[in-house]
Amino acid sequence: MLDVRGLGKVYEGSGRRVEAVRDLTFTVGAGELVCLVGPSGCGKTTLLKCVAGLLAPTAGEVLLRGRPVTGPPPGMAVVFQEYGRSLFPWMRVAENVGLPLKQKKLPGSRRRDLVADALRSVGLADAAGAYPWQLSGGMQQRVAIARALAYEPDVLLMDEPFAAVDAQTRADLEDLVRGLWRERGITVLFVTHDIDEAVYLGERVLVLSASPTVVQEQLRIDLPPERDQLHTRVAPRFAELRTHVYAQVQAAKRGTAAVPTADAPTVPGRTPTPPAT
């Protein structure tokens, strides 16, 4: 479904050259839920924006259903971390969910059905007439998810969607995403810096190195498909997997990891410092 091949992104400006993403190759199959996890400032957002067609990569390419992504493709929907800033505050919830559909030129009745269905799926059927700022943070992020669902994307991209909500809400939203994925069979690429979240949600976890980013490890999560906050998180296999990923992320942070390429510039005192976040 989604092919990322040799993706690289270098920012250049005012005499400074920052290599955010070096060489990333991975695929996401149709109906898969893949989590990307990596240390702070490892270029996760850059990667996601390149995949979404919001940022042009300086090397490599992204293919969606075999077609190269050059701008935001119609088959992709993004849910950002900043829920408060990604919803239109001047539109009611239903209008927020419906606007992209209007842009897709869907007929009115179909639009109404999709909006109602998406809001029902995230448990916000009653909030259709409210403004986003009248809702709690968790509910706002539900609206953003509903908007993405109604858009019926081939691939749903989520950029640390739950990093800014409280722990309880976060657990609920994680279960919501997993439930929607199983129910609807959508393809999801989920970016997070939270190792537990990645292991809990994903069918597969990609561990990214520190910036300049490469894929450090790919890991299949062999937990049962039926997961819940109470039992899955205390299962021995979950602990093993998260310990493994944790070790990998720590290694990535130090930059001493088993980085497959030997040309990483590790000159003492001149290690590439990741830009501050």
Partner: protein, 275 residues
């Protein structure tokens, strides 16, 4: 803040050289282009040079004005009216604002009156000013003070409303009197707002000073523009309009600088308190 908010992506505009320098260059180019356009339009006969003289002729007229003692007197008159009016308006506005905020019930009582008086256009007072004071400085002051007073008063009221209730309660609990509370709690909080009010008032005061001179004939740049207009001295008139524009620009820039200083001071002080 949680990690990954910017995720190592430097801002997009970092590309393509230091923005400050290029912006200045582009701005200068824009200004140059504007002047060239103003020179070319009358020269090419798009607009009659009688109505719209080329920039070079306006510049000549401006040089002539700058060499004329009467021009400097007029400029002085305008600045006097502006500064005096602004000073009175700021003093009165701040005092009224503080009193209205401190005395119980006064704010509720005055709210509707302020809402009614504020939108009354100051120029409505022009005939009254003419009758009462003729072309004296006091005519100018009446208009300037009336117009700029509201800017200061309203901003002061906003500023006082912004006072942290906890700080206010604390001060009260420590037995600070009304005056001490005004000085140590209310005034520091309201100051940035007052400075915004002063900036707005400074611009309004210039508009009204020039207007009063132009319409009533009180001595100053406005009156000089009116004379140039009636005597068909078109390039001189444009030169004087440019002078008022430059004056306005200097006042805006100056007021913004002062405001920024006051704000910076304010924030640093607050930062220390918060730690």
């Amino acid at each position: 803040m949680k990690d990954g908010h910017l995720d190592g992506a430097p801002p997009e505009r970092a590309r393509g050289g230091p923005p400050g320098l290029t912006n200045a260059a582009l701005g200068a180019a824009g200004l140059g282009g504007f002047l060239a356009l103003c020179e070319a339009v009358p020269r090419l006969g798009v607009v009659s040079a009688e109505y719209f003289p080329p920039v070079s002729r306006i510049a000549d007229a401006l040089a002539g004005e700058l060499g004329d003692g009467a021009f400097w007197t007029a400029l002085g008159d305008t600045l006097t009216g502006w500064a005096l009016g602004l000073a009175i308006a700021v003093t009165a506005g701040v005092l009224a604002g503080v009193v209205i905020s401190v005395v119980p019930y006064l704010r509720e009582a005055t709210a509707s009156t302020i809402e009614f008086l504020r939108p009354i256009p100051s120029v409505a007072l022009i005939p009254l000013a003419v009758l009462l004071y003729g072309t004296e400085l006091r005519s100018v002051l009446l208009l300037v003070v009336y117009a700029s007073f509201w800017q200061v008063l309203l901003q002061t009221l906003y500023g006082v409303r912004d006072v942290d209730p906890v700080a206010e309660e604390t001060a009260r609990a420590y037995g600070l009197g009304t005056w001490a509370r005004v000085r140590h709690v209310l005034w520091p909080t309201a100051l940035p707002y007052v400075m915004t009010g002063v900036r707005l008032a400074a611009a309004v005061a210039l508009i009204l000073a020039v207007t009063a001179e132009l319409v009533i004939g009180a001595p100053g740049l406005g009156a000089r523009i009116a004379v140039a207009q009636t005597s068909q001295a078109v390039p001189e008139m444009y030169a004087l309009v440019v002078v008022t524009g430059v004056l306005g620009l200097l006042i805006n820039v100056g007021a913004r600088t002062v405001e920024r200083r006051a704000l910076a001071w304010h924030q640093s002080v607050r930062g220390e308190v918060a730690v």
